[in-house]
Amino acid sequence: MSQTSIKKLVLFFPRYDCEQPIIYHLVKDHNLIVNVYRAKVTPEEEGYLVLDVKGTEQDIDKAMEFLKTCNVVVNHSGKGVTWDEHRCTHCSQCITHCPTDALHIADPATRKIAFDEDACIECLACIRVCPFGACASAF
């Protein structure tokens, strides 16, 4: 039996017609546990979905094949929220607003900030509070 793993995905729907209940199929047909971080899916428009899928590697691979048939672009790097190290001034304004410590102080002596992508739940709080435009959302 193949191992269970978790994958963070950003799905892009070039023009979504809402005909496919995609999440339903991921759960029902591919035995995946789905955790949606955020979504912006409007009929007749481009859409995005950021989610974790948990399941056996075999099931995840099959699910990826299925997504391709739905005209969905899958971004495996899972970066819905990005942090630009060069725009960051390391002020620390974001850290009390980040609920998961994805943005955190990496070095207490120099107050250097670091971003732990895997811990980010895409709540977008940092984008609202960062005065220097260091954080951005793919959508």
């Binding site: 001034t89 390391h90 002020c91 620390s92 304004q93 974001c94 850290i95 009390t96 607003h97 102080i105 120099t110 107050r111 250097k112 900030i113 609202r128 509070v129 005065p131 220097f132 435009g133």
Partner: protein
């Protein structure tokens, strides 16, 4: 005892001993004050954070035919033209034309004066649009062109107020989220913010303005500039700790420097949600170690510097003058303070990381002999107090 001349001779010959205000305390603890005062020539101080009272004069030179600009915009940001024909003043907090501001609260304030200044220093091509009523010798009525910092005659930063000596810690005692120039504050003391480099900050290392004065050469965003006046709202008469450190804002500096020599990473536009735009600047100030007393003052530590905690939901806007309590910068920098038994997460708006970088860059410049010190030609006032704006009836 040392003089500026002796220190400058040592700098010029590449022999100066320079430490940052972050390093000096441990050095003095190890060597003793007397020995260290003989050895150390300069201690570098620095800060990086939003400084709203910043801006610059730009002279564009003349177009053919000439224009006397009476209204002008750079990248749609209004500049002040009530001076000579092709001189303008661009202010850091000016919003872009058509910015909805807080019409849809809280406004995002993505771009404004501070961002134009950042782009200018970064060498970007910017749009100038100007109008005029036309005169006999300046007949042109309108101009639209693109320019970079290299195309203009002068781009001189002239900042009426930088480097606040100390600053407030902001919290929100109210029951809704508020957006302030110190950041977004969650209700019921959900978080706190502060804005100072603490032990690294220039005027906290010279609490009585014995060293820093009008004429002092400073490092302004990488360019060599100087203090041209006491900063606006400079008010040295305030409550101080036994070691002389102000327990509130107190002193400020008015700074100027040539923007053509600035480094873009230390000139950064600021967007403060629900508040507006501003400019964050990096400033470094060298302190010549003329005697033991000067050195002793540079040994101030975060734990010895007290900042007032102010409620920005009510006390600050209503100018009640109430301070909830004082906390020190060691507590602030730990990321958590305790007020009335409640632990509150703290974040900074000024960057200690960048301030440290600046203190080290300036120290390196001095060690290389590239940055000489200049003493003040006039001291900053020590005992002036802050006045309030009184609302009066028209005098009869």
């Amino acid at each position: 005892m040392k003089t500026y001349e002796q220190i400058n001779d040592r700098i010029a010959s590449g022999k100066a001993v320079v430490l940052t205000a972050d390093e000096i305390m441990d050095y003095v603890d190890k060597k003793g004050l007397e020995a260290a005062a003989k050895e150390v020539d300069v201690v570098t101080t620095a800060t990086f954070g939003p400084m709203c009272s910043s801006g610059c004069f730009i002279n564009f030179g003349h177009s053919k035919p000439k224009i006397r600009m009476s209204e002008a915009w750079i990248e749609d940001v209004l500049v002040y033209t009530g001076i000579a024909a092709v001189d303008v003043y661009l202010g850091a907090t000016q919003l872009r034309h058509g910015d909805p501001a807080n019409m849809y609260y809280p406004g995002e304030f993505r771009y404004g004066g501070g961002h134009v200044i950042e782009d200018l220093v970064a060498g970007k091509s910017l749009q100038l649009f100007a109008l005029s009523y036309g005169t006999d010798e300046y007949p042109r009525r309108e101009i639209r062109t693109w320019f970079t910092i290299n195309d203009v005659n002068q781009a001189t930063m002239v900042n009426p107020r930088n480097c606040y000596q100390n600053y407030n810690v902001a919290i929100n005692d109210g029951d809704r989220t508020i957006c302030t120039y110190l950041g977004v504050l969650e209700p019921r003391r959900g978080n706190a913010t502060y804005c100072s480099a603490g032990q690294l900050s220039p005027l906290l290392n010279d609490p009585y303005y014995d060293i820093i004065g009008v004429g002092t050469r400073v490092w302004l965003a990488g360019a060599q500039g100087h203090v041209y006046a006491e900063g606006t709202q400079h008010a040295g008469a305030c409550e101080r700790t036994p070691n002389g450190v102000p327990m509130e804002g107190a002193g400020t500096l008015a700074l100027t420097a040539d923007m053509k020599h600035m480094k873009p990473e230390f000139v950064r536009g600021v967007s403060l949600r629900g508040y507006g735009v501003s400019l964050a600047l990096g400033v470094g100030v060298p302190i010549p170690i003329l005697n033991e007393q000067v050195l002793k003052r540079t040994c101030v530590r975060d734990r010895d510097i007290q900042a007032p905690v102010i409620d920005y939901s009510s006390d600050y806007p209503n100018k009640t003058g109430r301070t909830l309590c004082h906390v020190n910068y060691e507590q602030l920098r730990s990321g958590e303070i305790e007020i009335d038994g409640k632990k509150i997460a703290v974040a900074s708006l000024s960057s200690y990381h960048k301030a440290l970088e600046i203190a080290n860059l300036l120290a390196d410049e001095i060690r290389r002999g590239d940055f000489l010190l200049s003493g003040p030609i006039q001291p900053l006032p020590k005992n002036t107090a802050m006045k309030s704006l009184v609302i009066r009836k028209k005098p009869v």
